[in-house]
Symmetry: C2
Subunit: 241 residues, 2 copies
DNA sequence: ATGTCATTTCGACGCGCGTCGAAATAATTC
DNA sequence: GAATTATTTCGACGCGCGTCGAAATGACAT
């Protein structure tokens, strides 16, 4: 059928935008919430700048991306949190990556270990950290949400997070995000972003260049053991239970 | 690019399935969680049975749909709750329906007023009912989730809902679902489905044939006023505040 | 058995769209 | 002003895929 039924939202319009492999690669590259210039996105998607330009224009007009022009650079990012959630939901049921080369295997491992997802920590480290925080009684999982406990309230403040400021934001303090590589939930929302920020500030984690992946620094490894009883060896994590 | 990067899930594979208007129409028709036969889905999507057959096969192999064969009928439904959430997330940012004919306008109104969404109530009625339940102190919105209060615990039991049985299920007791027509959250999850069921059983609401839409019966209108202080006139709802 | 109904398979058509080369525009640098 | 870099516009190519007609398969009824 050509014309849509006109009683329901036009799902196909949105889905078709992400349904092209090149555009999907662009969305994935922006999944961590940062803004990237058009040329960089072309490189990541493995297409020419002209082709990327056309794709970015369509994604922008479809309201999936926002653009910020700085001189001759055009920085694109996911339009809003609803788009991020759509990408999350899609990643949760999409076919897992199929490794082809040894280099890809390493890259995939690094990405599964730790990465950022719309500003918060994801991957094995994100899930483990969420688990450790829950184990220590700072966070409860009630129904389909994470709730900060009284003990958590004190601990997060001591960790340098201003919970009151976070609660004042429009976005929720906590959110569950389904981790596509671990197939379990990790902590997202304003608190998740604040925790990731503190980890960056403390020098516990650092971005891997040209990637959404994050690596644990030596100081970070030590901190994870000290603060959360997480023993991390290379890319494998073991917790006490 | 032809080959995917192989470090990330294959978003395009999933998105391309929903990216075709006919397949999107099929997904929308199944959005309420019921199972429909192939022929009916062809009719709803406005395509021939052969074409629908090909589409349904692709959606099935892509794990977006599940199929149940009963004699010569093939009943299709959304594969699981993750798919339902993907469709929800997509509907929340998809272009709203554009009305073309007077008949479509009526159908759109009916659908916006009340419908089922993976088993629970959605539309203006779903949002209003959720609001009323919160107003009466049976439900709290904490962080990004709904929590049943002690008063709610009593009231839901009195309403004929076995909360303990619902808590034992794998799916969450409560869930927020973003209503695409109201652009606000309504109550979903096991409790949301149970409430809708009670409303059907009580004869308060009834399905509109050949549609996901739901209409309020006379008894239902009376009950909404009596139980929830919701004054409903034709398709417009007014609450005390 | 025969006819009907639901669904699938096969084959062929046609168009939409992702692709890149070439060139234009625009901002930055020297 | 000239050279470099980032991005866009235009044009043309080619292939993937959604479409339906025709026919086959399979289940049910009488």
């Amino acid at each position: 059928m050509r014309i849509q039924n006109a009683t329901d939202p036009d799902l196909a319009a949105v889905a078709a935008l992400i349904g092209d492999p090149s555009r999907a690669a662009i969305m994935v590259a922006l999944m961590d919430g940062r803004a990237l210039p058009a040329g960089e996105l072309a490189r990541r998607a493995g297409i020419s700048p002209q082709t990327a330009s056309a794709h970015l224009d369509r994604l922008f007009r479809g309201k999936l991306l926002a653009v910020e022009v700085q001189g001759r650079h055009h920085y694109f990012r996911l339009h809003d949190e609803r788009v991020a959630r759509l990408v999350e939901a899609m990643a949760a049921i999409a076919p897992p990556p199929t490794v082809r080369t040894p280099a890809q295997r390493d890259a995939a491992r690094t990405l599964r270990f730790a990465r950022t997802c719309y500003g918060h920590l994801a991957g094995a480290l994100g899930v483990a950290l969420t688990g450790a925080i829950r184990e220590r009684g700072y966070l409860n999982e009630a129904d389909a949400a994470f709730v900060v406990t009284a003990a958590g309230d004190r601990w997060f403040r001591n960790f340098g997070i201003d919970l009151d400021a976070l609660r004042g934001q429009r976005r929720p303090l906590t959110r569950r995000c389904l981790d596509w590589s671990e197939r379990r939930h990790h902590l997202a929302g304003a608190l998740g972003v604040a925790i990731a920020s503190r980890c960056f500030d403390n020098g516990w984690i650092a971005r891997v260049r040209d990637s959404r992946a994050v690596r644990l620094t030596d100081r970070g490894r030590e901190a994870m053991r000290r603060e959360f009883a997480l023993k991390i060896d290379n890319l494998s994590i073991s917790s006490p239970n």
